[in-house]
Symmetry: C2
Subunit: 350 residues, 2 copies
């Protein structure tokens, strides 16, 4: 689903019938409207189609996620740019890869990425599995070839055993597809339930304060939720950056045409996947270009470029208060003990 | 203490009086000799002089250890080169630092480093605290200035609070010295008790197999323990690389004169701190130059250069079997949740 212009959300006045004398709180129209648009993050990781999780596979995925030997230099892992303790991103405009090369776009968060309909800012990967394999073999990121990545792991006895356990019954379990599959099932565990907003959505009136509720009301009324909706408040569709007014080159550098570069279709020019707003306070700088360093600034730019709204300072404060209520419980992940190299293990690029 | 030539250990024949009819096993002369030279890793972290550990300080140290914003690029942390899951090192000959510059020597393991008498290959840091501050401010490693490191953390509200808790009563707790102190108390927790050798040392006969005991006997008889002794089987003294015969340039590059570069004293030429052999199977490649990729190769080179011994293949096998018994329980460290940057936080070098 793509939108050209964000239809303002119809602010349906729900006909609320208060449960008379039942002792239940009267239904909250704001919550009822929100429940139509958003869903809380579940407590348990979702199942992945065609990629069932087992403890052995998740454990292998955790190892591979932190494994620098999946890079040509043995210096870069998934966690180098998607730090589990830093909101699942790296806090830089763009990431630093092989030979200190810079990535083209701001590293999106891995947290809750499982709930996005596609991966990367331009949606060029259909799912986590396909995404996981991208940076490993990208010459400016981890910079290894798929063949070498497989040979590398085959040269580490502990991985031979770990893949056997994660992919039982396979004659030759260390394959690039299985590397991707294991990382994907681990990444699917990186979800952040329990955000104040989710607790409020589920009925806890006190989970949001007044400023946050005001912010939510503005978020709905101004039309933010036209794109930022669903379980991730984003991640479900593509939208042009600059629906109403194109932002300046700093935020929308002309050489990055976004989704166009995948579809080669002019109508996708400068379209990007709508990013999730989950844990957004943890992942500055913002936008695919990574040049908005404050949440307030990002909200102001969004108002102007996507909605044609010059939000007041007070409105921006309230919206950002709401956005800060989207921070959930961060995943507690033990740093994995990685299997040692041996004398015959392929060596890093000098 | 420095040695010029390794005195062969006197193989004292302990006069063993078996406890007659007591039901206790007869005293094992090999163990008795070993107990004179080695101590097991304790279960609990040792206290640091003038740097008392508190839960808040250890927790802060854990955050700082994994904190990439302590580097100029926001891309490198302590854990980039001393990976907790990779034997406390990085598996490269030398490490990759700021702007992809290479370090001069192989990254030593952080595991059990608290038990070394000094830090770095040349002992230029007296303790963990002093060591911790080195790479952060080294232009080819994390590449930040001490002043900027302090300003960086002061710009992150979560650290203002974390330092207040870790250093209660201090008016201005975010200082470079306190960064070092917090990292040091965390690093002191990175110890690896429970190695088979330690369990054997403490009386568990079955903890070592016959090859490992043979290896230990060779280790003692040939003189390895002249330098590799104490709790860390190393880390307690300086020794020249090439006591008997200087190894080739690959292992002993002539431009790195080791301890000489600290003391500027010719008698320290090509002296290096004797590395610990704890967890040695996890930390290839070996030597300060990081060019020996196999443990067997490293043992053979040591035999020739330090002892003038051409060890047989069988002896090398047995010694390496013993060395593999030095691998202890690896630390289980949760990846810390780092406090988020805000709009005013100092930004990474672009």
């Amino acid at each position: 689903m793509q939108v050209g212009l964000p239809g303002r959300l119809a602010l349906v006045s729900f006909l609320v019938v208060a449960p008379a004398a039942s002792g239940l709180a009267a239904t909250d129209p704001l919550r009822e409207q929100a429940k139509e648009l958003f869903q809380p993050i579940p407590t348990n990781p979702p199942a992945l189609p065609d990629n069932p999780a087992t403890p052995a596979k998740v454990e292998l995925g955790r190892m591979l996620y932190f494994e620098p030997r999946l890079s040509e230099s043995h210096n870069i892992s998934c966690n180098s740019c998607h730090l589990i303790g830093l909101g699942g991103a790296d806090g830089r405009p763009n990431s630093i890869g092989h030979n200190w090369q810079r990535g083209g776009r701001n590293a999106p968060t891995v947290l809750n990425a499982v709930f996005n309909t596609a991966q990367f800012w331009d949606g060029r990967a259909a799912d986590l599995k396909e995404q996981a394999g991208g940076p490993i073999a990208n010459p400016i990121e981890m910079g290894i070839t798929k063949e070498h990545a497989v040979e590398q792991l085959k040269g580490i006895p502990g991985y031979v055993e770990a893949f056997r356990q994660a992919f039982p019954g396979e004659a030759d379990p260390i394959t690039y597809a299985n590397i991707e599959a294991a990382i994907a099932v681990f990444e699917a565990t990186l979800i952040t339930p329990g955000a104040p907003f989710d607790r409020w959505l589920e009925g806890d009136d006190a989970a949001l304060d007044e400023a946050q509720k005001q912010g939510l009301a503005i978020f709905l009324e101004k039309g933010c939720a036209s794109c930022h909706n669903g379980i991730n408040l984003g991640g479900g569709m593509y939208a042009p950056f600059g629906v109403v007014q194109k932002p300046g080159w700093e935020f929308l550098p002309p050489n990055d045409r976004g989704r166009f570069q995948v579809t080669n279709t002019v109508e996708d020019d400068y379209f990007f996947k709508v990013p999730s707003l989950r844990n957004i306070e943890l992942t500055a700088p913002y936008f695919h270009s990574g040049h908005a360093w404050g949440l307030e600034q990002a909200v102001a730019v969004m108002g102007q470029s996507q909605l044609g709204e010059n939000l007041t300072e007070r409105e921006i404060e309230q919206v950002t208060a709401f956005l800060r209520a989207l921070t959930g419980e961060q995943p507690q992940v033990p740093f994995p003990i990685l299997p040692p190299s041996v004398a015959t293990t392929p060596r890093p690029e000098p």
